[in-house]
């Protein structure tokens, strides 16, 4: 089987496609997308090309353009979520996406699934742009319109890991930011790199550049609305809260008031 999961048999010499999947890794979480038909394949390969990676133990995700059959996912699903006509559920060692009509449906379900898979791995997804700087990452968070794409567009070429959705994980007692393929207006396909987090910056557009440290409670208050999380399970939310309190306490957090030009880089701590 090659990197894109094509396998052939051919007793009579005819190549027969018996499986078609695409393996990728986001934030060190390997998954394998199994296509039910050819429709999505081209778009998916183009969208996630930078994240193509084949790993042992990748979580299989079975994609189906058709809506979930009557009855829906098994009651034993450890996690499930419905998004319009699309739906995902996690059963044992496999995930299932139904009603996936295009790459945008897939992208949305993938974010939702990742947010769940990350939790026991000490990670979370954040509405944030992440930029490499001096071998570490600056994470710029804020809701739509806060300036994430602006910051990314003002970053040095090749330094943007993502302009929309950042992935933060606590690894070996240190926080690390990973790029993701989930992009915003910047239209950078995202970079599958990662580096230790130097700081989290809460974006505020302002006439002058200024940066001020945020105490943990203020940082938590700023982080919470920007975290992507889709479970209403109490224990999961308690774990998420623990994780965010850890991030707010262990990572230097700042409010960054910035003008819409590259001069704001000068006020960031080295």
């Amino acid at each position: 089987m090659d990197a894109q999961g094509r396998a052939t048999v051919g007793g009579d010499g005819t190549a027969v496609l018996i499986q078609d999947c695409f393996s990728l890794e986001i934030g060190r979480i390997p998954v394998a997308l199994h296509f039910s038909g050819p429709e999505l394949r081209g778009a998916v390969l183009a969208r996630y090309a930078a994240f193509a990676q084949t790993r042992e133990g990748a979580l299989p995700i079975h994609l189906d353009a058709a809506p979930t059959a009557a009855g829906g996912p098994a009651p034993s699903a450890s996690f499930q979520y419905a998004l319009g006509g699309a739906r995902l559920w996690l059963n044992g060692a496999a995930a299932h996406f139904s009603g996936v009509r295009n790459e945008y449906d897939l992208d949305s379900l993938l974010r939702i699934l990742l947010s769940w898979l990350l939790l026991p791995r000490q990670g979370f997804l954040l509405h944030a742009a992440t930029v490499l700087r001096n071998g570490r990452t600056c994470v710029f968070t804020g809701r739509s319109g806060a300036g994430k794409s602006t910051v990314a567009s003002l970053a040095p070429r090749g330094s943007v890991l993502t302009d929309e959705i950042s992935l933060l994980r606590r690894e070996a007692n240190a926080w690390r930011a990973h790029g993701t393929p989930f992009w915003g207006e910047f239209r950078a396909a995202g970079s599958n790199g990662s580096a230790p987090v130097a700081g989290i910056y809460v974006l505020v557009k302002a006439p002058e550049n200024a940066v001020r440290p945020l105490p943990p409670l203020d940082a938590l208050r700023a982080l919470l609305p920007n975290v992507l999380f889709f479970s209403s399970d109490r224990a999961a939310n308690a774990s998420l809260l623990d994780l965010l309190v850890g991030a707010a306490t262990q990572v230097p957090c700042f409010e960054l008031r910035f003008r819409r030009d590259a001069s704001f880089w000068e006020v960031l701590p080295a």
Binding site: P216, L217, L220, L224, S231, R234, L241
Partner: protein
Amino acid sequence: MTPCAEGCWQKNPSLAWREVEGETVIISPDESVMHELNGTASFIWRHVDGHNSAAQIAELLASEYDVTPMAALEDTETLLTELAERRLLVPAESVEKESGTP
């Protein structure tokens, strides 16, 4: 648990909360809403356990803070009512046991 005869409250079991720098952050997963309690409110929240009545919590509050017993009771009852209106508290009898954090 033994239901409180005086109409005690209990934290809504669906909530997740943590104390940070003396204040309490509460997440209501069903509504995706975050609530915050200041230091005094956090003290009251901490003592809402399905057993303590408002009067008992007020007594603890008065012994901890520089406030008269009457003012403590008024503050406690006001806060409990507000928390109950926001569904952060539920009547103690309506749940089997205390759960949640920390």
